[in-house]
Structures are given as structure tokens and as C-alpha cells.
Assembly symmetry: C2
Homo-oligomer: 285 residues x 2
């Protein structure tokens, strides 16, 4: 474990959330600060949100609120698919979504494909509460390019969860129709694709792009949302493509001990604030 | 209109949201920057959220997201009270909640009591889209201390909405049981009290205080929530005390043209994420 700093007063991590908006978190310690083959990674301890992982300047996880994001990414699909036995996670090398997915007895295998093995290692080293699912007997971890992986795995998955970073550099392809088309093929006859699609306030352009690109392949696309404090604006969207499936109805009782998701939240999360409902109706027009 | 600055590159407004967390917004112009009798007020133009009003360093309204807060504060109560003809707004001198309340034909009179007349004037001067209800024929505007006002108005109001600043200095009393008890008395036999109660992530201590203090007088207390990007963590709570009334059921069609609230949102805003549901159950135990 590489410890670069010790407790220092007035040491801050600053995220440039947009060109015109920044979030600052007071930090007590920097635990990792390096370039990987694909991105820059920082692990630091903050006073407000506990330990955080930052990739290319953007907060990916904080100990205190990661549950909001990881539970929404995993359980909406896992609870609405009739038999989610074969699951693929694209990205998500920290293991947070995996930790949620392996809670289901109905699961047979979950494959996690993340291009950057150093993210996986950083999570193992510094986030035991997040990475704890990575060694689960039903989990297969592949450090490789998901876009290559997926074209060789047609008709294999029940649920595919795309836990991408922001769509720049190597992650840009994960927001494009050709990728969604490959995902569609690699889903079985009935399947669900879940993708994180940013904030409707800070990045509505990206939400729109994902929705419309997904709609080129998936006839039925659904938007849901939740609170996620450390992501820009604190309001986060999740876009779900249904292959002969509608994710709005929960079919099973979720695992016990969850902190964000519940059967009631499942129902709630598809109810959009009026402005967002209107945006989606414009997309569908 | 007092214009202090002109467009300047790299001029920032920074809000210290907690001791360990800050939000920075790039500003192009400072329009007002002064001490009133009660607080410091800043009006500035930001690139991200349009024009903002700041009181004692805390963002009160931004042009771009004020609708989230003002609509939740107004419409949940206005739509669930059987006959909300007499409404009191405590604080809220900017007029945002008032603008929403006067949209109802069933309204007879709305009284706004804000201790600081300079907030009211700043809104008139710089936020025409927010202050536009202040001159409505059904509106009565009183620049005075709401705590004094309320003890002289027993059994008069159907709905009381407490749009307080954070509970420090002159606003601290607005989060205490003696005030809630006075509010209870000034409600008619059936009535609703709505109060903004901060974020469960950044200020759960305040949410707890408001809930428990309110419960000393109101037998039935309800928590609902919504997105509010520029308030700390982006997740905001609203606590409702019911005097012989349950606010969970919407009884009327809301006004047209709303951007956040809808009948569907009314139903779902009382559905709390699991951790928050658990907190409330602990309060009730």
C-alpha cells in the first residue's frame, strides 16, 4: 500500500464537474495517485464522504454514498428480470455492482469486464467494503476491452450492466448505437441493458445521446432516477433497454440489508419530475 | 440597480456547504453585495445556474433549479388539503413559493411574512420570474418576525409553509417545538404545516431535530423528498405536520405548466430510500 500523504489541514480535492462548477472535498490523506495505462487514478480519504476513488478527475465512488449508485444499477434489473442467472458488468472494476449482483441465489455466473486492471486492484487494496464481491465463486473477472468481449458472446446474458466512466476517450464508444446493438445481440431472447446516463441538469446532452442511440436498437427504453450526492447535481439517471422485457415491475423480493433500493423505490424510480418526463416525451416523439 | 462587477474571467462564488465540502460556481457578474439588518445578501450571475441569490453564504435560489424546491414546498400541501383557501408563508421573501400558491383558484388569501424586506426587494429587482406573484391581488406581504405574527393569529390558516434559511441566528427558532406549537394553534381544525428540513446526507441532525420537535405537537408527521441540485448533496427533504389531515393523497389536479411536481410525483415523493425510511422508523420508535 502506497501512502503518499498524512493528515494535512486545508488539503482539498477539487472536481471540475463542468467548466463552470466545482466540488471541493477536504482530504486528510492521499493513498494512491498514479497514471495507469488508461487513466489517472486517485484514492484519498475525505472528511465528508470517507474514502473516495477518482478517475481522470471524476469521483467514481465514495464510501459514504456509493450504495445509492451501485444498488440502483444492480437491483432494478435483477428484480425485474424473470430469471437473471447470467449477468455481465461492463466496467465497474471497483466491484460495487458485482457485490450487489452476487446477493441473488438465482444468479449462476456474473462476468465483470473492465479494461483497467489497476482499478480492480485499487479497489481490492483500498475499498474492502466495495470490492468484497470480486472473489465470489460465481464471479469471473476479466481485465479487457468490453467492446471486444461482447462481439464474441452472442445470446448469452440475461442482464448487462454498463458502469462506464464519463463518455470520453476509451469509454466514448459505450454511449454509441453500435455498442448498444452488440449488447442487444449478446442478450438472450429476454434481457435487460442498464446504463448509467449522467445528470439531466449537468449533462442532459449525454442522457439524450444514450437514450436515442439505445432506442435505435432497443424498441423499449425506460428512464429511472435516484439521488447520488457526489455525482454532479446529485440527481442521477439510469437508462434501461428492454429486449422483450419491461423493467418497471419488480418480480422478486430484494436481498435484505439494502440502504437505497427497495420494492417501493423500484416503483418510484420510474416516476420522473415533470421537466424530465417532458424531455423523454420529446425524445419519443 | 447596483452593479458592482462586469463579466470577469475566473471569478467564482464559493459556498462552504459544510466545514469539509464546498461548491464553486463561475460567475460573470455581481449585481448586489450588501449587509441587510439581518444577513448578508449577494445576487450574482453564474454560468451554470443563471442568476443566484445567496444569504449569509448559502444559496437560496438559482434561476435554473429553484422550481424543484418551490414546487415541492407549495404543491404537496396545496393538492392534499381539502380546501386550502387561507395560506401563510413564513420566510420565502423571494416569492417563489407564493408564485406557486397563487395558481390555485380555491385560494382566498396568502400571507407572506418575511423578517427581511431587503430580500423581498432584491427578488423584485433581480428575479422577476420568481417575485412575479408578490403583487398578486390575493397576496399580502408583511415584512416582520413570523414568530410574533403567528401568536396573534390563532385558528386562521389551512396551510402554513415554512421557507426558512438554515437554522442559525434569527431562523433558529423556526426549527423548535415552541414554534411548531404556535403553528399548530394558528392552523384551523384541519391543516398542514410544510417545512424545508435540509439534506439527510449533509445535515441529518437538522432533519432529525425538525422531525422530533414537530412530533411533540403534531401527532402525524410525514417526510417527503426531491432533487434540488444547488442545495448540499442535491437531495432535499420536506417535513409535513398534519393537523387532522394526511398529506399523502393528492385531492386535486395541480396547475398546468409545472416543471417538477405532478400527481405522480406527489404519490412517490413519500417513498423514501431504504436508509432514510430506516431513520424515520427510528425517530418514530
Amino acid at each position: 500500500m502506497e501512502v503518499i500523504g498524512r493528515r494535512i489541514t486545508d488539503l482539498w480535492f477539487t472536481e471540475c464537474q463542468t467548466e463552470n462548477m466545482k466540488l471541493d472535498l477536504r482530504i486528510s490523506n492521499i493513498l494512491l495517485n498514479k497514471d495507469t495505462e488508461y487513466q489517472h487514478i486517485v484514492v484519498a480519504d475525505t472528511e465528508e464522504y470517507g474514502r473516495i476513488m477518482v478517475l481522470d478527475g471524476a469521483i467514481q465512488i465514495t464510501e459514504r454514498d456509493e450504495f445509492c449508485y451501485h444498488e440502483m444499477m444492480a437491483h432494478v434489473a435483477m428484480c425485474s428480470h424473470p430469471e437473471p442467472s447470467r449477468v455481465l458488468i461492463v466496467g465497474g472494476g471497483d466491484g460495487g455492482i458485482l457485490r450487489e449482483v452476487v446477493k441473488y441465489d438465482i444468479l449462476d455466473t456474473v462476468t465483470l469486464v473492465d479494461i483497467d486492471k489497476e482499478v480492480i486492484q485499487a479497489s481490492r487494496d483500498f475499498f474492502p467494503g466495495v470490492s468484497c464481491g470480486l472473489d465470489h465463486p460465481k464471479a469471473e473477472i476479466l481485465p479487457m476491452d468490453a467492446m471486444e468481449f461482447i462481439i464474441n458472446h452472442e445470446n448469452q446474458f440475461d442482464v448487462i450492466i454498463v458502469d462506464s466512466t464519463d463518455p470520453v476517450d476509451f469509454a466514448a464508444g459505450l454511449f454509441q448505437s453500435s455498442f448498444y446493438s452488440d449488447v442487444f445481440k449478446s442478450l438472450k431472447n429476454q434481457g435487460l441493458l442498464v446504463a448509467q446516463t449522467e445528470s439531466p441538469f449537468a449533462e442532459s446532452r449525454l442522457m439524450k445521446q444514450a437514450y436515442l442511440e439505445m432506442k435505435k436498437t432497443f424498441k423499449d427504453v425506460y428512464l429511472c432516477w435516484g439521488a447520488m450526492p457526489t455525482y454532479p447535481t446529485g440527481m442521477w439517471t439510469y437508462t434501461i433497454g428492454g429486449k422483450n422485457l419491461n423493467p418497471k415491475t419488480s418480480l422478486r423480493t430484494p436481498p435484505t440489508g439494502l440502504k437505497y433500493y427497495s420494492e417501493a423505490i423500484h416503483k418510484h424510480c420510474f416516476t420522473l419530475p415533470a421537466f424530465l418526463q417532458e424531455i423523454i416525451e420529446q425524445y419519443n416523439a
